[in-house]
Symmetry: C2
DNA sequence: GTGAAAGCGCTAACAA
DNA sequence: TTGTTAGCGCTTTCAC
């Protein structure tokens, strides 16, 4: 009966190989096995090799919950996003997985579906799971930040990403929404538009607020009066864009250009315009914040403000891991990432009644600070 | 000092409230607290209420790893998908979250990025995390199923979804790839196409194989010879579609219609066709398996085979939970979900040199068995 | 370089 | 109805 395949386990319920099994077989202690498997320098190379070999042979799989319980950390980071079927979040999340992988962390992804209630529940769940850190992009409706304070009290670092809360004391990673919106609006002005509507999102959502502010600032700079009835607050979906266009259309205050808070909203506008027989960009011009990989297949392909999705994801994770490592002296940081104007088929030609496009204007397109 | 806010914790490192704290304060045992918090009928309503009240007051948060270690289950299901920024997987995953939520399960989502190595690592990680079940949609390259066998040996139910392995002994949830491809091809034939190319995926991938088989079967039924040089194997991305079109174009064997294995492939074809000045569907017709929410915004909007994404996600989770609950007598099941033909702007008109479209053909579109 | 003891926070089984 | 006794599998001292 020498060297059976796997440990002999008499009265144990589970069929898992444990460190104890390996220790007994090799006549060393559990501790030695634990250290060896983690590559601890305490243990001799010889012993370590022996232990690792048997572990592999027996198909040993570490028990994370046990490890977690004993060591008080999980090497796991929880993420809460409002939507996953979204042109914006997908690449952000993929970038997060990459960084997590590189650093030996696991990611637990949860989706709030834009529901505040679910969001709160997810925070609690992640806390229960004993994640080492949390990254959240809040829902459109989130106003109350007390649940996030709880995480903080528990000593779990929390980082807001893209859609943030105003609360102080948290890490934040955002795109330059103000600057991007400013640039987009200015582009519309450059090509000769004087009436520019803005389809904004929820009035309280950070990204919507900042984009709106950028839009207004650009108008002011160019001494174009801000007309409040050309600013529509609703949501971030294509249906909102559709409804927004309709509302503008019916109010007989059609602008020359519409600046949309998100790409889906812009799509909704396109659909509505098409149904009314209006051509883009000939009859109504458009520019949007954010895009989709599918934009290049659209005709017309829309000009847009490119968001640093990958960087957003990477930085959010990096900063969170950093904070976990230096948990003692925590100083909250806010990182703002630059956006970029990408010109396609819209918002590039001179308006008939405006001045010639591009006259005296730099055509240069680059990252803004 | 009566009733301080929170337990008095002298020599404890963590600042977490535990069941013990609550038990001591209320002069009951830890077990009573445990049971009360879980709503166990053993404990009187009165005691339960008292305990729950204090737990809430003190902000008690259960410790899942500890619970997991003691009870040997995690109420957690691991999911492995090849991509997340994908028109297909997003809704599938959202559906999974819904079902998980409804059933009190947590989901751990991992992304293999089409890498076999990552996929294997994810299986190990999920096993280490002691998930109660695993759902996987394999990468394009996955051939070796031994890692999945390991899960099975560990007693962890594993369900394949959409992209499956041939291995017996696992639950499988798939769309009717064969039937859908058959229908799509037949539609092309109906509108008068006699030469129909197929841009297929990886030769070994289940979904690609089945769609190819459906395509061939439809041609055979209508006595159209299968021409192997009109079948191109590559990948599932838009670049593959682009390259596929190019290859067809250069070989001077342009078909009347192209049936694409996925929506992104079809997009690539559109792009390539447009660059060559060919109009769709006038010069070259197209039909595709699967779609995207953005298809309605395309012009032309493509006709496609609709995949039951939500159902795929729901059923995968439901079946997995079922299997967890009845772990003793496991009988592997394969569930095939119907697809549906959706007609848009392509593959609907009669070919110039073909017979009139729709003559004698039902225009009815419905779920196929 | 190795190991014994202690305990992480919880639940299961069985007593009382 | 409640409590006692044992662990779950691992890591952390700290002694040898």
């Amino acid at each position: 009966m020498a060297d059976p395949i796997g440990p002999r386990r008499s009265a144990k319920k589970s069929s898992q190989v444990t460190m104890d099994d390996i220790a007994q077989r090799l006549r060393v202690s559990k501790v030695t096995v634990s250290k060896a498997l983690r590559g601890h320098p305490d243990i001799s190379a010889e012993t370590t090799a022996k232990i690792k070999k048997l572990a592999r042979k027996w198909g040993y799989i570490p028990n994370y919950p046990a490890r977690n319980l004993a060591s008080n950390h999980s090497k796991t980071i929880g993420v809460i996003v409002p939507k996953i079927a979204h042109y914006f979040f997908s690449p952000v999340i993929e970038a997060m997985y990459d960084v997590a992988f590189e650093n030996g962390y696991e990611l637990i992804l949860t989706v709030s579906q834009e529901s505040v209630q679910r969001e709160q529940k997810h925070v609690e769940t992640l806390l229960s799971m004993r994640v080492d850190g949390i990254i959240v992009s809040v829902t459109q409706e989130t106003r109350d930040g007390s649940i996030f304070q709880r995480a903080k009290q528990r000593g779990v670092p929390l980082t807001f990403m893209d859609r943030v809360m105003d609360d102080e004391g948290f890490n934040k990673i955002v795109a330059d929404d103000f600057g991007g919106a400013f640039t987009a609006t200015e582009q519309a002005i450059r090509v000769g538009c004087r009436t520019i509507a803005h389809l904004s999102g929820n009035r309280y959502l950070s990204i919507a607020r900042n984009r709106l502010a950028g839009y207004k600032a650009a108008l002011k700079k160019h001494e174009i009066p801000v007309s409040e009835d050309r600013i529509l607050f609703s949501g971030l979906s294509d249906d909102d864009g559709y409804a927004g266009f309709q509302s503008l259309y019916e109010s007989k205050r059609m602008p020359e250009c519409i600046f949309c808070v998100t790409y889906p909203v812009a799509l909704g506008v396109c659909r509505a315009a098409r149904e009314r027989g209006m051509r883009i960009p000939e009859d109504i011009d458009i520019i949007t914040f954010g895009s989709s990989t599918l934009n290049r297949f659209q005709s017309p392909s829309m000009s847009y403000i490119e968001q640093p999705t990958t960087e957003l994801g990477r930085k959010a994770l990096e900063l969170t891991i950093d904070t976990i490592r230096t948990t003692n002296d925590f100083v909250p940081q806010t990182i703002t990432l630059p956006t970029r104007l990408v010109l396609r088929d819209t918002c590039v030609r001179s308006r008939q009644h405006g001045q010639k496009a591009g006259v005296g204007l730099t055509k240069k397109v680059g990252m803004q600070a």
